[in-house]
């Protein structure tokens, strides 16, 4: 080798080692960027007087798409435990829609203070998310900022849990059968964070992270109740998953004596459902700069 070749060789090896160092040094950890401590002492505790509720029913407009059968041949354990595994993005019974996330987005408590200005205490008990039958249960859940989420694996196979947030820190962790629960927190409010298992790509869940506990997920009969709502006027949002998640809002007044009522219907009349045939119109999925995740 001549001198020039040697120089290139040394440079290439140095560059390779540098890249290796970066590859091995990054990732890991479960810290969140910009942790927002909602129990900060400079914020007032939420009002302690009588509270009300917000209740409602989520209905489905039109004929819901039939659940799609999932092919589990890639991991026989999934098929053995859950032979009739189907998609759970649109669970409709008697015209009522489950798994809609309903939450107070904004509003003013009686007395004039914004709902977001209070320091809501973080519940000490963790929210549970289980992987059972190669399926996330629950499919949609809510959690408060900095509240623990405890993730368990009830399957005789391994999964990996991979939330893909935009505001919180992304992480990806494998959990084998019998492994202890994975406990994590999210430091920033974000509605909603998609969660997926890269080993079983049909497995999806959504986590709504809020500063306050004023949220609910519609049950199998489409009903929901947001309890312990301080009297006031609020903007209530109902969120439903889809290729383009759909959100609907409603202004609701809550008093201690009369619950607020907010019924929603999805999809909105004329809106395309996720089961419709693909159109030529596509939504930009790329975010610049180029270091964005896909």
């Amino acid at each position: 080798m001549n001198k020039q070749t040697k120089v290139w060789l040394v440079l290439s090896i140095a560059l390779s080692l540098l890249v290796l160092g970066s590859a091995c040094g990054g990732g890991g950890g479960d810290t969140n960027k910009g942790n927002t401590n909602t129990t900060a002492t400079n914020q007032e505790a939420p009002p302690s007087g009588p509270t009300g509720t917000i209740t409602g029913v989520i209905t489905y407009n039109g004929t819901p798409p039939a659940p799609k059968k999932i092919d589990t041949t890639a991991d026989p354990v999934c098929g053995q435990k859950n032979p009739n595994l189907t998609t759970d993005d649109t669970i409709v019974k008697d015209g009522k829609l489950a798994n809609t996330f309903i939450y107070i987005k904004d509003g003013t408590v009686e007395g004039g203070k914004k709902i977001g200005d209070y320091a809501w205490p973080v519940p000490p008990e963790p929210v549970k998310l289980d992987q059972n039958g190669c399926h996330y249960a629950p499919h949609v859940l809510g959690i408060q900022v900095n509240q623990k989420i405890s993730i368990t694996n009830s399957d005789a196979t391994q999964h990996n849990i991979h939330p893909t947030p935009k505001l919180n820190t992304e992480w990806n962790q494998t959990q084998s059968n019998g492994a202890p629960p994975i406990e994590k927190t999210f430091g920033r409010a974000e509605v909603l964070i998609p969660v997926k298992c890269n080993q079983h790509p049909w497995m999806k869940a959504y986590i709504g992270v809020l500063k306050h506990p004023l949220y609910a997920v519609s049950a199998a009969d489409g009903t929901y109740t947001i309890p312990k709502v301080p009297p006031g006027k609020y903007t209530v949002v109902a969120w439903r998953e889809g290729q383009t998640p759909e959100e609907q809002t409603m202004e609701v007044t809550v008093t201690a004596s009369a619950p607020g009522k907010a019924d929603f219907a999805f999809p909105k009349a004329g809106a395309a459902t996720s089961s419709t045939k693909p159109s030529l119109q596509m939504l930009p999925a790329i975010e610049f700069p180029m270091m964005g995740k896909h």
Binding site: S12, I13, Q158, N160, Q173, Q199, P201, M282, M291, H294
Partner: protein
């Protein structure tokens, strides 16, 4: 010109073709092609993060390969094999090859495969940032180009090729072929970026689709012109016409696969998981793209080998205008 021809012929006679080396280089090139297919399967199955660690998979050298781990760990196993084959190839070249530039290319192949492995690790560790994933896919094509070039340079047809005395036409073929090659490479970068910009359950970004379609038009024009010019100017030279015909055939197949891949990806967000035919069509599109690229490399290298060169660009342009 005659002097150059004689010089080349004398040089060729001095070179003894090593059949074993050539066969091994072909083996490495074929293994690399298989590796590209394995990598494409990882992307189409959305398996890139089936394990969060690297170089081990879930902390193991041989994990239970179920679910998407089959694709991701399988890709790593094929990549490791190709890496080892490349080490052997480099040593083989250093031992048997006399031409210093071929020896250097052998060393470069090893550095490229190491860099490619590290980029693969980086994609996992950084959780698939678009730039790194696209760079990984692009470097794969460059590495394939390198192994195919080594197979070409060690082949009997290359060593024994005799130069043609004249270029039949005003615009040098080698520039046409090199232009096609650069256009294909840019199209490969666009394709890699497009492919990694959205997973199967999301629609691809319109801007990138349009850019990739524009690239397909440019490649068709450039490669079509280069190949047809080869066939028109040198119909009797199989050394040149064979890669030209193969490139044209692959181009037609690739355009068809591109349309099919677009249609399949348009529908895939409504599927519950990555499914066929989307997986097979998109993987075939990647594989055929790689074949178009390396066939054009063979064509370009051969034009540089047998057609007269050293024509200044200014002379070329004067001839054209």
């Amino acid at each position: 010109m005659v002097a150059a021809k004689d010089k080349l012929a004398i040089g060729n006679r001095q070179l003894a073709m090593n059949r074993g080396l050539n066969r091994f280089a072909i083996l490495v090139a074929c293994a690399t092609f298989f590796l590209i297919i394995a990598g494409a399967l990882v992307t189409s199955n959305d398996a890139g993060l089936a394990t969060p660690d690297w170089p081990l998979s879930n902390g193991q050298v041989f994990p239970k390969m179920v679910g998407n781990l089959f694709w991701e760990h399988g890709h790593r196993m094929v990549a490791t094999t190709v890496g080892m084959l490349t080490i052997v190839l480099m040593v083989y070249i250093l031992l048997k090859e006399k031409r210093s530039w071929v020896r250097k290319l052998g060393v470069f192949a090893l550095l490229a495969v190491i860099a490619q492995g590290l980029l693969g690790g980086l994609t996992v560790k950084l959780m698939l940032p678009l730039a790194v994933s696209s760079a990984h896919a692009t470097l794969a094509q460059l590495f394939f180009c390198t192994t195919v070039s080594l197979a070409v340079f060690t082949s009997r047809s290359w060593i024994e090729a005799t130069p043609l005395s004249e270029e039949k036409g005003s615009f040098p073929l080698r520039y046409l072929c090199a232009g096609a090659l650069v256009t294909i490479f840019l199209q490969l970068i666009l394709g890699a970026t497009l492919r990694h910009s959205a997973t199967w359950d999301r629609h691809l970004p319109t801007e990138l689709i349009l850019a990739h379609i524009g690239g397909a038009v440019a490649v068709t024009l450039m490669l079509g012109t280069a190949s047809l010019t080869v066939l028109r100017r040198h119909p009797g030279e199989r050394f040149l016409t064979r890669p030209a015909i193969i490139a044209l055939t692959l181009l037609v197949i690739q355009l068809g696969l591109g349309i099919a891949a677009y249609m399949a990806r348009l529908a895939s967000p409504n599927d519950p998981q990555p499914l066929n035919p989307m997986i097979s069509i998109t993987v075939a599109h990647v594989a055929c793209g790689a074949l178009v690229f390396v066939t054009t490399i063979v064509l370009t290298l051969r034009t540089y080998k047998v057609l007269p060169g050293r024509t200044a660009l200014s002379e070329v342009l004067q001839g054209v205008f």
